[in-house]
Symmetry: C2
Subunit: 415 residues, 2 copies
């Protein structure tokens, strides 16, 4: 294998795939990145895979000799990221010494104008192949819709690994009826304390079919072209870790572009431009969250989101000294909302702001963190808070724009 | 006490003094900031003190009722820093409840347009007074000279608290002779592995005397005016922690300004503008570092600093896998410097660059971190590396500009 490429191409693509390199690999080869150079296409393919999350990218290079090898990902990334912009030559050479296992070692050299590095590689046959979804069904998603869905749900996932499906985001697309031309993709996340649900519009079916015709095809083979049947419904849970990487990958796509999604039992593949991300789905029944969201509310507050968040963050300083609970005093007569906290032996605080309030006055309390998380994630300048009683679920929704629901349970106030 | 001030003034000054609030106070009152409001001067004085480092600042405010109180520093700072720009009213009020100790509690209210906070304060008589140096000698230092000295020495101090004086920077000013009109202040720091020495010019004695006449005087009393005798020599070690805060304080002074330094056995006071910083000096004899620096060298390399640092940082990726040692191959015939590293079982690397080399060729090795630290701290585009043999001290100096010496010991190479 021998190839010449630019430092910036190699650096950008290495940084991206490196995120799928496990910090504690179960097998040595998993800490390596798979480098595949093709003379025909004059392209290089980089792959990293931790057996659950896989990332693959490709970029143009001057490939003199085709071939493939795996190289320690961190070492290569650390060197390449410190190089100035310019040409880099990667070449597999005959090893002068034997590897520690007594096998003939594979050695890769990296050459620049000022320096030369040698790194021990490993055979590619030990590198597990990235899952392919050949029989699976495909769907084309606008980058913006995916971004909105992830931004509005990922933060509400559980970080407790023992909570299984709650560490992921649930994706659901209902079977689209014949007369219904606006399919919706729903993102839901809950850690048991709060719930975030985002519905994004995928565009009309016709648009989706047109997109599918222009779907990016793979460089290296035709077998994986997305010629599978169009996906009509979806119901799966994806690990937050993979989706956070997908979010970064989406950031590298242009606005207005689409991402192809392929799904087969237990495995999902996202492909956008030159980037491909694969992930295992999380097993287990996702909670029936729909039932938690009340249909009717007795009280409604319309309020400026940033103002409320700023007040809450100041109140949080004192709430932090106590039990992290903030009290809302909803005064419908004066159209005023007061936030207050009492931290005995430390101090107290209150903030008031005007709001558009319908329904009767009420006192209700919330956990500061769960409330603040929702206020940060809601995307619009104004929001609505809908309440029944001081002990029933409360929902926050953006006013206009995205269809998002954030549900929190109030905290019982002891008087 | 009652005062009205701007959020930005209170926030800036609180952030500064808060750095002297101990994280684990030996007495509860030390976690508080002392607030003193004066009607006569219409100024507020803030003080924090951990019994070693003390910081005091003052700013203008509308003081309706003079008085003083101590307020929990972190709580006050956290609330004030989250407030939008605007007016803040601080007021001591009669407490409604008793403090946990059963004493009548002190309560301070903080009021803004949108909110009101109450915090429990403490009596000021428990707050230890900031050390004053009334009999001590004074010296005026240009802000730039102090900055240069700190920047070139602080990084080389030891972070190991058991190493006593080595955790500080040694300041030395020799007795100035009658015919010598350019007094030098020397900053030295060593952790036992490397040594950094900076000499800064303080300007002529006449300039210094003029500066002294314009030295800032305190607002609150005339007793501490810097009317003490001018300091003619100096020999003390100051804790790195206090000097790092001094560096931040200097950053808030304008260019061309001066800092007044007062010293009395065991205690030093820096005063600049509205800011005052006091610190204990470190006890113990500072090593006689002058003797370590050779007077003559057999080899000299003149080289571009950033280029050498970049190469070293790439080599460091591989050195990090092994023993953190980089080998320099000095080739005086080809006027080339080669950096190399061999990390067995991982790989190897080498970087070469042209350099102006005098003296014979040589192989010599260094600890990567100590070399990189020095290259980062040297302030000029080109530097000189002066060497005798592969096992004797090596010094790095900037080419032009500041007078700085960075000394490192080579590492023995086993072949």
């Amino acid at each position: 294998m021998k190839l010449v490429c630019s430092q910036s191409d190699l650096n950008t693509n290495l940084s991206l795939v490196s995120r799928a390199v496990p910090s504690r690999p179960t097998h040595p080869v998993l800490s390596n990145v798979l480098v595949q150079a093709e003379t025909e296409t004059q392209r290089v393919l980089l792959t990293a895979f931790d057996l659950s999350l896989g990332i693959q990218t490709s970029f143009a290079a001057e490939v003199t000799t085709g071939g493939e090898i795996t190289i320690p990902a961190k070492l290569l990334n650390d060197i390449v990221s410190r190089l100035p912009d310019g040409e880099i030559t990667l070449e597999e050479i005959a090893s002068e010494t034997e590897s520690p296992e007594g096998n003939e070692g594979l050695v890769v050299t990296l050459t620049t104008t000022s320096g030369r590095y040698e790194m021990r590689g490993m055979e590619t046959d030990e590198f597990p192949p990235l899952p392919r979804v050949e029989e699976g069904m495909a769907l084309c998603l606008p980058v913006e819709a995916l971004m909105e869905g992830l931004r509005g749900s990922l933060f509400a996932t559980s970080s407790d690994e023992t909570k299984q499906v709650l560490t992921g985001v649930h994706l659901k697309m209902e079977q689209v009826g014949e007369n219904d031309h606006t399919p919706l993709l729903e993102f839901a996340a809950t850690d048991g304390h709060r719930l975030a649900v985002v519905q994004t519009v995928l565009g009309t079916e016709e648009e989706a079919e047109n997109d599918q015709a222009q779907m990016p095809s793979e460089e290296d083979s035709s077998e994986s072209e997305l010629n599978s049947t169009a996906l009509k419904s979806l119901d799966l849970t994806l690990p937050a870790r993979a989706l956070r990487e997908l979010e970064k990958m989406l950031g590298m796509q242009g606005a207005g572009e689409t991402i192809a999604l392929q799904f087969e039992q237990g495995q999902i593949v996202f492909q956008g431009g030159e980037h491909r991300l694969t992930s295992r789905t999380l097993e287990g029944q996702y909670p029936a969250y729909d039932k938690l969201i009340p249909n009717q509310f007795q009280r409604q507050i319309t309020i400026e989101r940033r103002g409320l968040l700023s007040s809450l963050e100041r109140i949080a300083v004192l709430a932090d000294q106590k039990n992290n609970i903030v009290k809302f005093t909803i005064d419908s007569v004066n159209q005023q909302l007061e936030l207050s906290v009492e931290a005995q032996d430390v101090g107290s605080g209150r903030e008031s702001m005007s709001a558009e309030i319908s329904g009767e006055s009420l006192e209700i309390a919330f956990n500061v963190k769960y409330l603040a998380d929702g206020l940060k994630a809601l995307p619009t300048p104004d929001i609505q808070i809908q309440i029944n009683e001081a002990d029933t679920p409360v929902i926050l929704t953006p006013l206009g724009g995205l269809k998002m629901t954030y549900l929190i349970m109030p905290v019982q106030l002891r008087n």
